[in-house]
């Protein structure tokens, strides 16, 4: 069980999310009044910043767009600096349902894992209801993680993650694209525990996906490359740690 003074930060990376951000924040505040909230405004050019100001929410603003992964990294660095024990990340597009977060958080505490992934596919273990290309990608990354670590993670690309203090340091040190398969493999190879907890998501109603047409081709290659490099880096880190322990 967590200590009664355990501090939890809900972090929402947002880039041009004027259509949904207010609703997401209000839902989070309503469902999780005891958790602190941070929005990482990742160089939005629309009205997102004005909305955040009017809602009086703690905001870390990137002066330019750094990308989703860097926004998550900012949230982790923020949590580390201000002494939080846990960071919960969720998307600003309204796909995640804040009312489910408490259950996922309780699962995290009960399982004692270092990283919990809110999984869309854990229950069915199938990628039904997604486009063919996406389905192939999901299956590929899931199998990649399985091959690299021996552990099957069904939803490697979920934006809902519960990150414990134990992995703040490796999450801010090593380079990740979007904290997806590459981060999962790296952390598992370092010996951290990762688990999944079932969630359901709504369809994106407004705003644009962070993945462009080109990125559908570059993303798998970049992620696969980082998975391989991550395995090597994790092995070297463990080797250095073992040498340091002697």
């Amino acid at each position: 069980m967590p200590s009664p003074t355990r501090r939890v930060l809900v972090a929402i990376p947002a880039h041009n999310e004027q259509g949904t951000i207010q609703q997401v924040i209000e839902k989070v505040r309503g469902c999780l009044p005891d958790f602190d909230l941070l929005v990482v405004n990742d160089g939005s050019r629309d009205k997102t910043e004005g909305i955040l100001r009017s809602l009086n929410v703690t905001t870390a603003t990137h002066l330019c767009n750094l990308g989703y992964g860097r926004a998550i990294q900012t949230a982790i660095k923020y949590a580390s600096k201000f002494g939080y024990d846990t960071v919960i990340t969720l998307d600003a597009d309204g796909q995640h349902q804040p009312e489910q977060i408490r259950d996922v958080y309780n699962d995290t505490v009960a399982s004692g894992c270092d990283l919990m992934i809110g999984s869309r596919y854990m229950k069915t273990r199938q990628y039904l209801g997604t486009a063919l290309g996406r389905r192939i990608g999901m299956r590929f990354f899931s199998l990649l993680v399985k091959c690299a670590t021996g552990q099957r993670i069904y939803d490697t690309t979920s934006g809902l993650k519960i990150i414990q203090k134990t992995v703040f340091e490796p999450c801010s040190y090593w380079q990740f694209i979007d904290y997806h398969a590459e981060a999962i493999v790296y952390l598992l190879r370092l010996g951290y525990r990762i688990a999944e907890s079932p969630i359901t998501v709504a369809e994106r109603r407004e705003g644009q996906s962070m993945y462009s047409f080109i990125s559908h081709f570059t993303y798998p290659v970049k992620t696969s490359l980082l998975v391989v490099i991550g395995i090597v880096e994790a092995a070297l880190t463990r080797h250095r740690q073992s040498l340091g322990a002697l």
Binding site: P4, D34, V40, T59, T61, H62, L66, R70, K77
Partner: protein
């Protein structure tokens, strides 16, 4: 012979362009020196080695230079990210400052 002459003049013009960039503060002086030595090195190599080897040397240099430039861009990009993140964290407008126990 004519081809060699044209290539040498082209190389010299490129070198002068690079030095002009240094003069206008558009190129770091260290890179200007690299171009200067590379040009002189190729001139000497032309005298002593066959064309294929000179071409390989030039190709190797261009590849090395490209890798080096991309490395520098990555370095600058990483520094920019670190600055932007630090600024964002330090300037975050704290609206909540509390320590409430988590309800389970």
């Amino acid at each position: 012979m004519i081809v060699h002459g044209i290539l040498n003049v082209s190389g010299l013009l490129l070198l002068l362009w690079a030095l002009n960039l240094v003069q206008r503060n558009r190129l770091y002086v260290g890179y200007g020196v690299i171009f200067l030595f590379f040009y002189l090195g190729l001139l000497m190599a032309e005298v002593f080695f066959p064309d294929k080897i000179v071409f390989s040397l030039a190709f190797g240099f261009v590849f090395f230079l490209l890798a080096y430039i991309l490395m520098q861009v990555t370095l600058i990009s990483n520094r920019l990210v670190a600055v932007v993140q630090a600024l964002a964290i330090n300037q975050a407008k704290h609206t909540v400052d509390r320590d409430i126990p988590v309800k389970l």
